[in-house]
Symmetry: C2
């Protein structure tokens, strides 16, 4: 938490507390040959519930985001993707922190053994993209990063912004 001495817009002096994070958030929407994607299940302590999400994690600020994304995908799912495309950038909580998130589409997947960090207890589910999307639409998936990635991928298909081969796998 960094505190700044500032003038409020009303001209009064004030202290503004800002959460400055050392990491970037990276997320991956992996797309398999048959249109499946992969969800990671884990207990989220802050919200106190079991959460299904796309593979996501933290990346060091001085590392290329795609390098961090590749590492997270491998650690959590064991997947190595030959194709990567950055497709979404967002601020997660811009009133209280500078937490920035970058999402990637990843395809041409190859399965390797996962390499979980010792403090992660996660479960992987391979699901049809459409089913993951339904989980986000109904609110069963609550993580906004995951919601935004799934929603935007569909809209990119709708707008013709994805390669045909990928668009077909996403069922549109």
């Amino acid at each position: 938490m960094v505190e700044h001495n500032v003038l409020n817009p009303s001209g009064e002096p004030g202290i503004y507390g800002v959460v400055k994070l050392k990491n970037l958030a990276v997320g991956v929407l992996p797309i398999d040959r048959d249109g499946s994607t992969y969800l990671v299940g884990q207990y989220r302590f802050p919200g106190e519930y079991y959460s299904w999400e796309l593979p996501e994690g933290g990346g060091a600020m001085d590392q290329e985001p795609v390098v961090s994304a590749k590492r997270e995908l491998l650690e959590e799912t064991g997947l190595v993707a030959a194709q990567w495309s950055k497709f979404i950038t967002m601020d997660l909580s811009n009133a209280i922190s500078d937490e920035r998130a970058i999402g990637f589409l990843a395809w041409d997947l190859e399965q390797h053994p996962p390499e979980p960090e010792s403090d992660e207890r996660i479960v992987i589910r391979r699901v049809a993209f459409k089913d993951a999307l339904d989980m986000a639409m109904t609110g069963e998936i609550r993580c906004v990063f995951t919601q935004a990635m799934l929603f935007k991928a569909v809209l990119m298909v709708k707008n013709g912004d994805l390669p045909d081969a990928l668009a077909r796998r996403l069922g549109n």
Copy 2:
């Protein structure tokens, strides 16, 4: 910041720091008769940039979210909506906080004078829904709460999940 003594999944004791927030985030996607919506422009200190977003703010935990949403919409834009529908729930940053956000569609709008809080310096833009969506798709809108609301509204139109009158205004 609350610190919990926990066992890591690996069985080791540890301290887990969790940001517990006193507020809920509420957001509004107002939809005007002609399909326009309203964006709020403001300087976001944590990320240090000028941000365009749907009307959003904090609501007390002991207040109905729709009451907080109505207040935020009135304060920021002067709009009063006769129709409200909760359409999205999300966790904004579930690895580090319990910040929950709830978004509402609001329509049948009436313009009143805005009632800004003294420490807010904001600008309001009335834009076609499609233009707001384009800003989110291109990343000009970086706020993930706004992105997710705009994206989900389009997908609900696509799925036939919105009343016809609303769907028509959103241009589909």
